[in-house]
């Protein structure tokens, strides 16, 4: 009776392997890394910027910087946290540039209106929000949060990072992550409750 050869399941290569291959000039390793993290990076960038084109710019800048400064993370964190740290930095920088650009382009009268306008969503109060409305409401509410709370919330919820990983990225304690998330949700709830029940 013949013995069937054991079939070893092929595991996908780890990030370290892909990075080593990339360092040796293997461009397919870059494709695999990009395929693996593009959605995560895009979600974080989009939620911080609220704009597809800017979010794609942040993703591009994030990958380029993460791969050209690999010595900055090796041995201290995972590629995922390193990448999301850079993507979120790039997103906030782009957001600030865009805000400055927008303000410069506004005339004084329009600027006063702009400053007094809180982020709102054109939804009748009391009506249940469908998914798109809720997403837009969340994006608008997030924009009114302090940057530190917004970034913490986005890295945890959209970046799917643990408290420890968020703390590592932001250089803060886990207690601070906990506190920022708690008060971010309180504020978001206050802003969203005007639109509908979440």
């Amino acid at each position: 009776m013949g013995v069937q050869p054991a079939v070893t399941p092929t595991l996908p290569p780890g990030d370290e392997q892909l990075l080593a291959r990339f360092a040796n000039g293997d461009r397919t390793a870059l494709e695999e890394l990009f395929q693996r993290y593009r959605q995560l990076a895009y979600r974080v960038a989009y939620r911080l910027l609220g704009h597809e084109s800017d979010a794609l710019d942040a993703v591009q800048e994030g990958f380029v910087k993460a791969l050209t400064h690999l010595d900055g993370f090796q041995g201290r964190s995972s590629f995922k946290t390193w990448l999301l740290r850079i993507v979120s930095n790039a997103s906030l920088d782009l957001g600030r540039q865009r805000k400055r650009r927008d303000i410069l382009q506004l005339d004084p009268l329009t600027m006063r209106e702009h400053e007094s306008a809180l982020p709102t969503v054109s939804v009748e109060p009391g009506r249940d929000l469908d998914h798109q409305d809720l997403r837009q409401a969340l994006d608008a509410a997030l924009e009114s949060l302090p940057e530190a709370q917004r970034r913490t919330f986005v890295l945890h919820v959209d970046g799917e990072l643990s408290y420890r990983e968020v703390a590592e990225i932001l250089g803060i304690s886990i207690g601070t992550v906990m506190s920022r998330l708690f008060y971010a949700r309180q504020k978001l709830r206050g802003l969203l409750s005007a639109q509908a029940n979440v």
């Binding site: 990009f34 998914h131 997403r135 709370q149 919820v157 506190s179 008060y183 979440v198």
Partner: protein, 221 residues
């Protein structure tokens, strides 16, 4: 919205966030459950935290970010590859250019040396010591004093007893502050206050540099 903490023997209210996210160890999670059983009024807060938690699948699905097409991501990847290719070192090209750079550099240096020897005017005081630079470069060990604006600081929680000490309002700085060192300031006299008392002043100078900030103030005198 009540930001005050509960009683001091209670758990920190922020633990509710970590509890709904499954980030507490079993011991802390058990403390939260015991506390919630004694404080049913906090269940509303728990519901808020659960409603906007990443562990809430309904919430996650509802606010899912719309993804661009694969073609859009392919363009981004092509841009990344192009940018990384630009930054790639070209060792073979550089190796071929090196001899020419060395030869050219040496020739240029020789021409400049001859020109300097021929056209430099004689100095009147050859033994004079060089003038000290007026501005000393900042030492690397020099401390950097950082300013935080109102946008950088957010108070998320404080004890009731500390609340009366909180000063609310715009900060008095209207322009970039100017720094003055002890050499810039001369103390000529000190006037007594309206009751005739002089302020207590130490006679010994501070052992560490104590810069003084001079800034325009919005407050009237």
């Amino acid at each position: 919205m009540n930001h005050a903490r509960h009683n001091s023997d209670d758990i920190p209210i922020e633990w509710l966030a970590a509890y709904v996210d499954g980030e507490l160890d079993s011991c802390a999670a058990s403390r939260v459950e015991t506390w919630l059983a004694r404080h049913p009024e906090a269940l509303e807060e728990l519901r808020i935290q659960e409603g906007l938690s990443g562990t809430n699948a309904e919430f996650r699905n509802a606010v899912q970010v719309p993804m661009p097409d694969d073609a859009v991501f392919a363009d981004v990847l092509a841009n990344i590859e192009a940018e990384l290719a630009i930054e790639d070192p070209k060792p073979t090209v550089r190796a071929k250019r090196w001899p020419w750079v060395i030869v050219g550099g040496t020739a240029a240096a020789a021409v400049l040396l001859i020109a300097w020897l021929q056209f430099t005017p004689p100095t009147e005081k050859p033994n004079q010591a060089p003038q000290a630079k007026l501005v000393e470069p900042m030492r690397e060990t020099e401390p950097v004093i950082e300013f935080a604006s109102a946008d950088d600081v957010e108070i998320v929680s404080m004890f009731d007893r500390d609340a009366p000490m909180l000063v609310i309002g715009s900060h008095p700085m209207t322009k970039v502050p100017n720094w003055a060192s002890s050499e810039d300031v001369v103390l000529e006299w000190v006037e007594p206050d309206h009751q005739g008392w002089f302020p207590e002043m130490g006679n010994t100078p501070s052992p560490t540099p104590s810069p003084m900030v001079l800034m325009p103030s919005t407050r009237g005198r």
